[in-house]
Symmetry: C2
DNA sequence: TGACTAAATGAAAATCAATTTCAATACCGA
DNA sequence: TCGGTATTGAAATTGATTTTCATTTAGTCA
């Protein structure tokens, strides 16, 4: 790792090493805050900006990519895995991956047709995961006699 | 429109009408600021929050959807059109649409396979549009004698 | 036609993630 | 070891978004 970074013109530091290691330990879909927490468990002295900057660096050198599901928090995904899309459960906010091989092919075709030079795809399916749906069903069944109407949902809640 | 909103329990106001009308006039991929500017051209007294809230309302009642390409600005897209994906040019930040019919079918299949209840798809191709690529080529050709190396890119720039 | 009440408005403030600033510190090549 | 550059950490800033709150208004009903 040290060597890899050196070739790209970056120095190695204890903080950097810790951030990199923690990121790869955490695995999929890591947010800055999650990574920060993890790093802090090991070294209380590391600053938030250091974690942030090094996470950016991990992207910069091509080891991770940003994942933005539109819930206000950017997550970071290792690029080791082959191209994949994400199920995003709007209920529990979990991300589940699915393979993108055939679909990626079609998308590439669409892109060339439009003379668009593709850098990356982003495919997302928004909805409700099985576990959340089951939970919801059970709740509904339990309370079928109560509260007849649900009032207008308050506008937004994000972030 | 007035009637449509009434059935959903909302009142009509001059501001609301103006915001709605302006939104549909502007068409595709409208940001709050763009809409705000447009509205202000007609009525200087309308507040930003009013525009924002009504844009949210347009989504709430199902007439628009948020589009988040991860550049920090949320855009809003009418739902009149059939499902489509977006080319996002990272250079000029323009959005170009492409049809999603076949791909949507495949995605739906993937979703059912995973017992995931789909609410919507989000398909994006990031890259460089033809016009930007041409521009870039011309520039490169012109300056082939200059600056031999490009230094490390500054980390991030978004928003 | 009023009068009432919940909804809507506008200005300002609050949020909140993301990013930058800057002075102090630490790498690492010579 | 030394010196110049990169990195760090705390704090401040940014910029979009969202909320608050006092005031106004739309729509309802007598
Ligand atoms: Mn992933
Ligand atoms: Mn669109
Ligand atoms: Zn879920
Ligand atoms: Zn372009």
């Amino acid at each position: 790792m040290r060597e890899f970074l050196k070739t790209k013109g970056y120095k190695m530091t204890p903080q950097r090493e810790l951030v990199f290691r923690s990121f790869f330990e955490l695995g999929e879909h890591v947010s800055v805050d999650e990574l920060f927490d993890r790093v802090r468990q090991i070294d209380k002295a590391v600053g938030y900006s250091t974690v942030w900057r090094n996470l950016k660096l991990i992207c910069e050198v091509g080891l991770a990519r940003e994942v933005n599901v539109g819930d206000g928090v950017t997550r970071y995904d290792r690029v080791t895995r082959k191209p994949h899309g994400h199920f995003y459960c709007v209920s529990c906010k979990s991300l589940l991956e699915f393979d993108l091989n055939e679909i990626a092919g079609r998308l590439a075709k669409v892109a060339t047709a439009e003379k668009f030079e593709t850098e990356s795809f982003k495919v997302e399916i928004e909805g409700v995961c099985k576990s959340c749906r089951d939970k919801e069903n059970r709740k509904t069944k339990r309370s079928l006699s109560e509260s007849p109407g649900v009032s207008k949902a308050k506008l937004s809640k994000k972030r």
